[in-house]
């Protein structure tokens, strides 16, 4: 029996029972749509996270951490994870030692402080970063809306435009020249301490020289950037007496360092050298690998949730096919009597099942895609309402996902049709022909 004849016959049979076919197809479509939505959600979120990391200047960056620990390995399937080493202090000496390594362009402390501040008389809170000239990336420069970069070692600052908007300064140009007055500062996770000036010390006041677009720079938290020297000075003032009494070395220690390598090709070598010194390292690649490993699990879980719908479709198809066989018993007898083999009969039903799977799969992918787009539109609208400028693509239906879903849907349908097809093929023609 030719495949073209087989398909034609199967489609004619499905057409005969339009409503039942439609209902079964819709059942499959709902299952496939759920699966597509769930998996595309996983993919979309992963994309969004990876997009945040996707910045070329990050590719030449190595974070130096006091603890040597392969974080990515935690999420790597079947990887042996070494216990973390005892923390090794990161001090000014560490910075000096690292400067000797070949391929390193710059090493600087990486920290941020939680600060309370006011501009004019408006109070607010945010993060303060101290950056050396080497840390001022092209991305940050490109994100500048107005004004200029702060000069090194000066009490100049860059503020986020979104933060200014929240504080009531709608026009970023108008904040240029105003002063950010820090009132309190604290380490991450600690209560900010009121800043007090020592004898003859410069006030913790920074002149705003530029405003950057937070959305464009992919940092949504309210931020203030100033020179490294001012950052270090503010940090020193933020330690409370108890902490210093407990651990007098704290003042000279940094939670982490950032290394910039001269070229991407040095990344691996520098990583090894730093680890030889007893420090942990983290690069964007490590983070990407970690995200990908985590999402492997997340996608599988979301896929399982979505797969429940397809499991329901499986029983729907099996039910439809069994009903159909019951109704067509006599017809099956006739087909056998005129010379149809068991294989022919089974094929007819399997092709019918796979046609249901194909149609349901196609419809489901379309439905999933439409719902995903709708979800993206709503999320984007919500994000814009909240002042974000970016579009949100939480659901990401790729060609690959669509193709995979169709194949999966057909496989599930054929599996559901196997038993009914076997039943049909095994019917005794004498009994079947007597069937009314």
């Amino acid at each position: 029996m030719k495949f073209s004849d087989l398909s034609e016959l199967a489609l004619a049979n499905l057409w005969r029972q339009k409503l039942r076919t439609l209902l079964t197809v819709v059942g499959v479509a709902v299952g496939v749509a759920a699966l597509v939505l769930m998996v595309s959600l996983g993919i979309g979120i992963k994309r969004a996270i990876l997009k945040q990391m996707d910045s070329t200047n990050l590719l030449t960056e190595v974070a130096v951490l006091p603890i040597k620990f392969d974080l990515a390995a935690l999420f790597r399937p079947r990887a042996k994870v070494d216990a973390p080493t005892a923390p090794k202090k990161i001090t000014q000496e560490t910075i000096e030692a690292l400067r000797g390594i070949e391929g390193i362009r710059a090493v600087y402390p990486n920290f941020n402080l939680f600060v309370h501040f006011k501009i004019d008389e408006t109070q607010s809170a945010g993060e303060l970063y101290g950056l050396p000239p080497e840390a001022i990336t092209e991305a940050l420069q490109e994100a500048l809306i107005c004004g200029r970069m702060f000069a090194d070692a000066t009490r100049e600052a860059l503020v986020s435009g979104d933060m200014m908007k929240d504080m009531g300064f709608a026009d970023p140009a108008l904040v240029i020249g105003k002063k950010v007055v820090l009132t309190a500062a604290g380490q991450r996770g600690r209560r900010p301490r009121k800043l007090t000036l020592k004898e003859g010390e410069e006030p913790f006041e920074f002149e705003i020289v530029g405003v950057f677009d937070a959305g464009k720079y992919k940092s949504l938290a309210p931020r203030i950037y100033t020179s490294l020297a001012q950052g270090v000075r503010t940090r020193a003032a933020s330690f409370d007496k108890e902490t210093l009494a407990e651990n007098p070395g704290t003042l000279g220690e940094f939670p982490a360092l950032t290394i910039r390598v001269t070229d991407f090709s040095y990344l691996g070598k520098v990583k090894t050298e730093v680890e030889k010194l007893g420090y942990g390292t983290m690069t964007i690649q490590d983070l990407i690998e970690m995200v990908e490993n985590v999402f492997l699990v997340v996608e599988a879980l979301l896929g399982c949730v979505g797969g429940v719908g397809l499991l329901v479709s499986f029983f729907g198809i099996a039910n439809t096919m069994l009903m159909s066989i019951l109704e067509r018993t006599r017809e099956i007898g006739i087909m056998k009597a005129v010379g149809g083999t068991r294989r022919n009969i089974a094929s007819i039903f399997l092709v019918e099942a796979s046609a249901i799977g194909l149609m349901g799969g196609g419809l489901g992918i379309f439905g999933g895609w439409v719902l995903g787009q709708l979800g993206n539109a709503i999320a984007t609208w919500y994000a814009h309402e909240r002042g974000m400028t970016r579009d949100v693509a939480a659901f990401d239906v790729s060609l690959w996902l669509g193709g995979g879903a169709i194949v999966f849907s057909v496989v599930v349908s054929v599996a559901a049709g196997l038993y009914p097809a076997w039943r049909a093929a095994r019917l005794d023609p004498v009994v079947a022909l007597r069937h009314e």
Partner: protein, 238 residues
């Protein structure tokens, strides 16, 4: 009653069924041979085993004991593909209730055996049209069974049975659902087709008139055995 030119031969055919807890002997040792090109009737009361015998010869059912030989070769009863091929190419079946597929047109019904043979559409249609013309239905090719009279439906079934030019035609009460005038027409058509295509024909009927008027030989069954096997009284000749 072996004949030298036997096309089909039944040897000691027995068919038992389990009905509840008791075995029913539908056929209890039936032997005969049919000459090539002959037209034979099997008569008997209902329950005499005639339909069972026909199902066995048609390859729809398997005997409990005994064997069926076609041109000296036993039927490969255990092999589905070969038995299907046997039903498709070597026997044509005609039923009392026509057994046409209601959703298919007359033409599509006739083409069905050719579909399983993997023939191309053009050839299928050509052969189906040819047979429908021979049974006088060239005007009704596109009609569904529900749009045809009983006699017309049986003509479609005859065309379907003959479309693969089988050497043997088996008819189970072919006139059972038809009035006497139409019955005579159908039997005349079968006789005519046999002359044209040279088939061996076996007709199961409970109508003695039909058996004796159109067949050369009449085998009478009773309780699963051959009661008599004689030339037809009507004296129909080959």
């Amino acid at each position: 009653m072996d004949q030298p030119e036997a096309y089909v031969e039944a040897r000691e055919l027995r068919r038992y069924y389990l009905m509840g807890r008791t075995w029913v002997q539908a056929l209890d040792g039936v032997s005969f041979a049919l000459a090539r090109g002959s037209m034979t009737a099997i008569v008997g009361r209902s329950g005499s085993g005639k339909s069972t015998l026909l199902n066995l010869l048609a390859g729809l059912d398997r005997p409990t004991h005994g064997e069926i030989r076609i041109e000296g070769q036993p039927l490969p009863l255990q092999r589905d593909v070969e038995m299907a091929a046997y039903r498709r190419r070597r026997v044509g079946l005609i039923f009392q209730s026509f057994n046409l597929i209601p959703q298919l047109t007359a033409e599509d019904n006739v083409m069905l055996p050719l579909l399983f043979d993997g023939l191309g559409r053009a050839e299928r249609r050509e052969r189906a049209r040819d047979l429908l013309r021979r049974v006088g239905l060239e005007e009704r090719v596109g009609h569904r069974p529900s749009e045809l009279s009983g006699g017309e439906q049986q003509r479609v079934a005859i065309a379907r049975a003959m479309v693969n030019r089988p050497a043997m035609l088996l008819a189970d009460e072919p006139t059972g659902n038809l009035d006497s005038k139409t019955s005579a027409e159908i039997m005349a058509l079968l006789t005519q087709m046999r002359h044209e295509l040279g088939q061996t024909v076996l007709i199961v009927t409970h109508e003695q008139d039909i058996a004796h008027q159109f067949c050369q030989r009449v085998i009478t069954l009773g309780d699963g055995r051959v009661l008599s096997d004689a030339a037809a009284a009507g004296g129909a000749t080959a």
